[in-house]
Symmetry: C2
Subunit: 337 residues, 2 copies
């Protein structure tokens, strides 16, 4: 099922995009071409393009979390900008680390502008995020910054685990879930609560939004894992089966490996030889599905979507804001199914 | 002249090293081997080594700046740790960007553990720095964090300029100085004042320490530029003439180019062909010196050392602390001359 993008994405973009552009415009000119390209503001030669970038889920969550605390959307905007900048910092670096040459149907920054631009440009986005959030350094902004730094820390730890998993053959499902909670969940969780922190909300609401975002992160990453194998290249911008080709220890594969019959099993043997042929990828895909890897990963996505929605059920969030948080979560999880 | 390392370096290390080790020990296990290696705590296989790391100039400045405000050294420690972590973040990334395979006579992290470890490990050091500083997020720590983020921002912009300069042939001396002020001066300036910020010092003292550190940064970088051409490989850990070999647009070369006789000049022609032979490097070194590039860069180092010392002459810093700031500045600038 393809869901229509929720109206809140456009509503939040109207608040956040100008502040985001302002922040980016102040960046170092030597980095600006690559950064504007990466953010979808411009072509590789600097020509502005009409629209682009991601769906803006994280900024929308940040804005909604301010509104959840009864504040104006604008209160969440510095948080929205900061979280979106941190997200893009991680994309720039991850593409180098993973050697990915394509993202969102476009050549990645390192592949187009060089590794230096991707590394230093990413660094600049991270410090810009904190600059936006800490100026001025009010107590609420300091609290929000501390939360963003901790989330970024966890995201980086998750990426480190993900990287380590590629050369390990004994990754457990629990380890994978913990990695995904860190790599994806930490920043989504921060996005879902940073507006409330900026609005000086009480701990009960902040904690509920933190939990909502954390579960949403697990569900989101489970869907991402499914798309990494069964996603249409049109939708993902990556070749089908690309996670298997890259030996990524994602949930569907781990579920399938867990029910295999040990050392002589066909599935691990497909990965033993280093690079997989197209036939290997097709066979691995078949085996992962036949052994329930797809179904069990879908179940995780569904369960954590439910847990996300439960987390915010009863903490006094205004009805209209609650409805938008509900709709956004469903959209994120059910996006391409 | 080789100066003896000032006692304040050891004194500050005694305060800062345990806090630094504590912070690092909490890092993600998948990054810890590379990070501990980089910081000189351990060999590549994880075996602890007795001593290592840099001279610890930045942490010493941070501690002194707290004492300059009349506070205990301990007040400056979170700032010292944060600044040292940011410095090491930048080293990890710069080595990848510059393709340097050696630092402090040891193989660099990317060359030994891979680019992924250097990028993600560097990212982790940066967020750890802010985590240390923002926990707890008191107003003084928030102010110090905002200053550190701005300094890091400037440092990254400086690195971006430095990177851009390598493919430009029209870099002016002013542009080079501005780049060096950003790349080196911003963090030294922050190190020199962050303790005072943590001690809630008044603006007059903070501004004086900011100026001291900024001038010290220019002087320090000028010396670094001299060492990049004339430094003994034993001292620098890099081959002699390495800045020229890498086409680095550092001050001595720019001064020498500025007095050349235009397009037919011998000096720019040496760089026109891409990679320089050993004979080219020797000839370029000779020309740069003969045209006063060495002398004028030494003059900049001397002048800015003087300006650094002037900046803190009359702002009520306790006599003993003032003497240590004075000695440390002289040591930094006169280190290998």
């Amino acid at each position: 099922m393809i869901r229509t993008a929720p109206a809140v994405l456009d509503r939040a973009r109207a608040y956040v995009a100008p502040a985001m552009q302002d922040a980016v415009d102040g960046m170092s000119p030597e980095l600006l071409t690559a950064i504007r390209y990466h953010l979808g503001y411009a072509d590789a030669d600097g020509t502005p393009v009409a629209a682009g970038g991601g769906k803006g889920v994280r900024p929308a969550l940040a804005v909604l979390s301010a509104e959840a605390a009864g504040a104006d959307a604008g209160v969440g905007v510095p948080g929205a900008v900061a979280v979106e900048l941190v997200h893009n910092f991680s994309l720039l670096h991850d593409d180098v680390v993973d050697g990915d040459r394509e993202r969102r149907h476009r050549t990645t920054v390192w592949a187009l502008f060089g590794v230096g631009q991707a590394i230093i440009g990413g660094d600049a986005l991270l410090t810009l995020a904190l600059d936006v959030l800490l100026t001025p350094a009010t107590p609420a902004r300091a609290r929000a910054s501390a939360a963003l730094v901790r989330a970024t820390d966890r995201m980086i730890a998750g990426q480190a685990s993900d990287m380590a998993f590629e050369t390990r053959h004994d990754v457990s499902i629990d380890e994978c879930l913990a990695m995904e909670q860190a790599k994806t969940g930490a920043l989504l969780s921060c996005a879902s609560s940073i507006g409330a922190l900026l609005a000086d909300a009480d701990n009960r609401l902040v904690d509920a939004l933190v939990a909502y975002g954390a579960h949403l992160g697990v569900a989101f990453q489970a869907v991402d894992d499914l798309l990494g194998i069964w996603g249409s290249p049109d939708v993902t911008g990556k070749p089908a089966g690309s996670d298997l080709r890259q030996h990524k220890k994602a949930l569907p594969l781990l579920f399938a490996l867990a029910v295999g019959d040990g050392a002589d099993d066909e599935l691990p043997r497909l990965f033993a030889g280093g690079s997989l042929s197209e036939a290997d990828v097709a066979r691995a895909t078949e085996l992962v599905e036949a052994r329930g890897g797809r179904e069990r990963t879908e179940e995780i996505a569904r369960n954590h979507l439910g847990l996300a929605l439960d987390s915010i059920a009863d903490v006094g969030i205004p009805t209209d804001v609650h409805a938008e948080l509900d709709e956004l979560a469903r959209f994120v999880v059910e996006r391409e199914f």
